[in-house]
């Protein structure tokens, strides 16, 4: 039972354009959402997060949008740069678990930025 889904396994975007990665979740108990970025042969690294009390969080070129009614979140990267080429994982948890975070991950989207 996959509670966090990333339906696009891969995405290619021209350098300088906007990259939009999507994620859907099914568990209503999730109220905190994260994006992790992973390069080959490395572990995932935290990128950006959003609490369910917000619908948008921005950090430089990265913006995460949350649509609670649709149980959908997206990560926007603008402008996209070659160094953004990586696998992006969406993750979710319940804030009740802060202090012992049990992350539920999606299967990832491989983003390729074309120079």
């Amino acid at each position: 039972d996959q509670q966090v889904k990333q339906n696009s396994p891969s995405l290619s975007v021209q350098e300088g354009r906007i990259s939009i990665l999507n994620c859907d979740y099914t568990n209503s108990m999730f109220d905190y959402f994260l994006w992790y970025k992973k390069y080959p042969a490395e572990g995932p690294t935290f990128l950006i997060s959003i609490s369910s009390i917000k619908d948008k969080n921005e950090d430089g070129r990265f913006t995460v949008f949350l649509n609670k009614s649709a149980k959908h979140l997206s990560l926007h990267i603008v402008p996209s740069q070659p160094g953004d080429s990586a696998v992006y994982f969406c993750a979710a948890l319940s804030k009740a678990n802060f202090g012992n975070e049990k992350l539920t991950f999606g299967t990832g989207t491989r983003l390729t930025i074309i120079p």
Binding site: G99, E101, T104, F105, T107
Partner: protein
């Protein structure tokens, strides 16, 4: 200065063998985790320890036994290895307290191949 390190990076072994993967973090964190990423790229939590105490055990077979000799180490011992154990295993750590999200820092992963 590697924050979360794992050894070995690659492990190839025969079915039925017993093997261990070591994890160490130098971040002073209280909580450590083991994740498994299977062939479908699904990254799933297996265990978490807080101050050497088991907190999360996600219905992992008894053949998997985590051991935490101290707060900075969480090793994973696997008995009677099976073909289905082939995966990439990631160790992670987080601060483990507070009312905000505690970012999880991941190690580079250990690719286990069971022949």
């Amino acid at each position: 200065d590697t924050a979360v390190s794992q050894t070995p990076k690659y492990l190839v072994t025969q079915m039925g063998n017993d093997k261990s993967i070591k994890c160490e973090q130098n971040l002073g964190h209280d909580t450590m985790y083991w994740y498994k990423q299977d062939s479908k790229k699904f990254l799933k939590i297996m265990f978490s320890y807080n101050n050497k105490e088991l907190i999360i055990n996600e219905t992992v077979p008894n053949r998997f036994s985590p051991k935490s000799p101290d707060k900075a180490h969480l090793n994973l011992h696997i008995n009677s290895l099976e073909l289905g154990d082939s995966a990439v295993y990631f160790c992670a750590s987080s601060r483990g307290w507070g009312t905000n999200y505690n970012e999880q820092f991941f190690g580079p992963g250990t690719r286990l191949t069971v022949l």
